[in-house]
């Protein structure tokens, strides 16, 4: 029973401190309920029948679970297809954001390139500006891509390329590589390692923790990405789950329990990822200090 906080073991013997401690525990339980209960209600109610959903008085725990709604959603509303589209979007976004921004951070940190500091200053300056500030020009860029002039509507390219311009990741990677001593790289060079070999056999293994963190972060942001997919993916056959759910919400023909089930389908994959990688995600906070 080690107390690490404000109340030490000796303090705890006082009644007043005991009251404070247990008040805090009760408050934390209330907070935990507030955080979990609404989601739990959505997951449970998604398997209620429509009659039960609108029954008076309303029920909290369903009388019967309708599991047959799951295959119906997957096939009739083509959720398998939407899953596949979302996975494609996520995979591309992860590759673009991790590889492109990782290389950029490495180059800015270790290659001491001429003009590198200017590039980094520009990236820092744009760090706080979300892509939605200039949404009209970006949309214009997407419908008529500069130089080659193609229309990127209904493709994943806009989201992938935007993932490649993640200022936060560049800053994260640069500060990570800054902490790797230059002497280490020079030593590999003395051993006759080329730049590429040194990168592959020394830098990449060392960067495993930051690569893992950025992969998870970019997965969860790509999975939940809404605005640009909503603007870009107009056709049903390419839409992601988030876009589809938004469309279902505004479509009054969709029954409420179907919508709740769709929401459950959108929540479950990131929840599984979180449960598996909980430690890595929590470590990410101490590594990055701040999430932008």
């Amino acid at each position: 029973m080690e107390r690490n906080g404000l109340i030490s073991n000796i303090d705890y013997k006082k009644t007043s401190n005991k009251i404070i401690y247990w008040t805090m525990i009760i408050l934390l339980i209330v907070i935990a309920v507030i955080c979990i209960l609404p989601v739990a209600w959505v997951l449970i109610s998604s398997l209620k029948s429509l009659d039960e959903f609108y029954s008076v008085p309303p029920t909290i725990w369903p009388k019967s679970f309708h599991f047959e709604a799951i295959p119906e959603l997957l096939s009739k509303y083509n959720f398998v297809g939407f899953y596949w589209n979302t996975i494609k979007l996520c995979a591309g976004s992860i590759i673009f954001s991790v590889v492109i921004n990782g290389f950029m951070g490495y180059s800015l940190s270790k290659m001491r390139v001429k003009g590198g500091s200017i590039v980094f200053a520009v990236i820092l300056a744009t760090y706080m500006l979300p892509t939605t500030v200039c949404m009209a020009p970006i949309y214009k860029t997407i419908i008529k891509f500069p130089i080659i002039g193609v229309n990127l509507i209904n493709t994943n390219w806009p989201m992938w390329l935007m993932a490649g311009a993640n200022a936060y990741f560049v800053i994260l990677y640069k500060s990570f590589f800054d902490n790797i001593p230059n002497a280490l790289l020079e030593a590999t060079k003395l051993d006759g390692c080329g730049d590429f070999k040194a990168f592959l056999h020394v830098i990449v293994p060392l960067s495993k923790p930051i690569i893992a963190t950025t992969v998870i972060m970019s997965f969860s942001s790509a999975w939940g990405d809404f605005f640009w997919p909503y603007m870009v993916l107009k056709e049903q056959s390419v839409q992601t789950i988030m876009v589809k759910i938004f469309a279902m919400q505004s479509n009054s023909a969709i029954k409420i329990n179907t919508l709740l089930l769709a929401i459950s389908f959108a929540i479950i994959p990131p929840a599984i990822i979180f449960i598996i990688f909980q430690k890595k995600i929590m470590n990410g906070f101490t590594m990055s200090g701040i999430k932008g």
Binding site: L6, I31, A32, P38, F103, V119, M135, Y139, P146, G224
Partner: protein
């Protein structure tokens, strides 16, 4: 002798310092190139285009005629702009009141828990793993005004309600802020928690010997340690709320009667509902300038914090 001269010549021609430097620069730029292209196309080019277009009369996405500051004048005199500016101020106010200190308080309590700490941490962070748009839609359903809405159902058990929730103009903004706090506080709480855990424990012991109780320990030991982080995170939060967009779009569409339209949503409506691209870009530039002002303050605060 001959070979000696040859090697000397060879050394002269082969200048390792320059070629090494050139090689490094080329590989360095090659590594940066894909990133630079992405940044130029989707970050820098749009900002410049945005600034350029804001001085023009537009037709669709094409510029027609230079009109100087007319777009800015139109935006500033538009009643929708004033309304959304006021709303953004309301969003900021409520987010500081409801969400500014909650994560710090939760983190302080989490730091005290002896048993079940990982469960409470998991629970607090849990809403953060839900995609933003799903959070908005989910709460929109939970806050349904009829008797079957989840919250109304809960309140009916203790005999009050049903409430109008999001349909009530006075409650829309605070409710949207509450859902945003619900969704976002996990991350901030974890950051505060790691700051709290970095406090040297002997300071508390010293305070205890001096006779400090629970609350004076918070006042004199904990607070000075987290105040820098508090300033930074509050500012980040204000910036985040100032550009709020997706939540009102998904939950209320800006209604009822524009009661929850944020400044960013207005920029979106100019561009994609009314097809007034010129006005939208002018408003975008105004937002960008405000955000730049905030960023300068932010970087100043972080720079202050570093030497410690």
């Amino acid at each position: 002798m001959k070979t000696d001269i040859a090697t000397q010549k060879g050394i002269k021609n082969y200048n390792p310092i320059i070629s090494e430097k050139v090689k490094r620069n080329i590989t360095g730029w090659l590594l940066m190139l894909p990133g630079c292209i992405c940044f130029i196309i989707f970050v820098i080019q749009p900002i410049l285009t945005c600034a350029y277009m804001s001085f023009f009369e537009t037709k669709g996405f094409e510029t027609v005629q230079f009109i100087g500051l007319q777009n800015y004048k139109d935006v500033i005199t538009d009643s929708l702009f004033l309304k959304s500016m006021l709303n953004s101020a309301k969003y900021t106010f409520w987010s500081v009141v409801l969400g500014g200190f909650t994560p710090l308080i939760i983190a302080t309590m989490l730091n005290e828990v002896v048993r079940g700490k990982s469960f409470f941490r998991f629970a607090t962070y849990f809403p953060c793993i839900i995609p933003g748009i799903v959070t908005s839609i989910m709460w929109e359903i939970l806050l349904q005004p009829d008797a079957n809405g989840f919250l109304n159902m809960l309140f009916s058990k203790i005999g009050i309600g049903p409430f109008q929730w999001l349909q009530n103009p006075a409650m829309t903004i605070p409710l949207i802020v509450i859902t945003m706090t619900w969704a976002g506080m996990g991350t901030t709480t974890m950051i505060y928690l790691s700051t709290l855990q970095s406090i040297d424990h002997s300071l508390y012991e010293a305070a205890e010997i001096d006779g400090a109780g629970f609350f004076s320990k918070i006042r004199y030991v904990t607070f000075p340690h987290v105040s820098g982080m508090l300033k930074m995170l509050l500012l980040l939060q204000i910036m985040g709320v100032f550009k709020v967009f997706q939540e009102p779009l998904a939950m209320t569409g800006g209604g009822p009667n524009n009661a929850s339209t944020s400044i960013m949503l207005t920029a979106y409506n100019y561009a994609f509902s009314y097809m007034q691209i010129g006005r939208s870009t002018a408003l975008g530039i105004v937002i960008a300038i405000v955000l730049c002002g905030f960023s300068i303050i932010y970087f100043k605060i972080t720079a202050e914090k570093k030497p410690r």
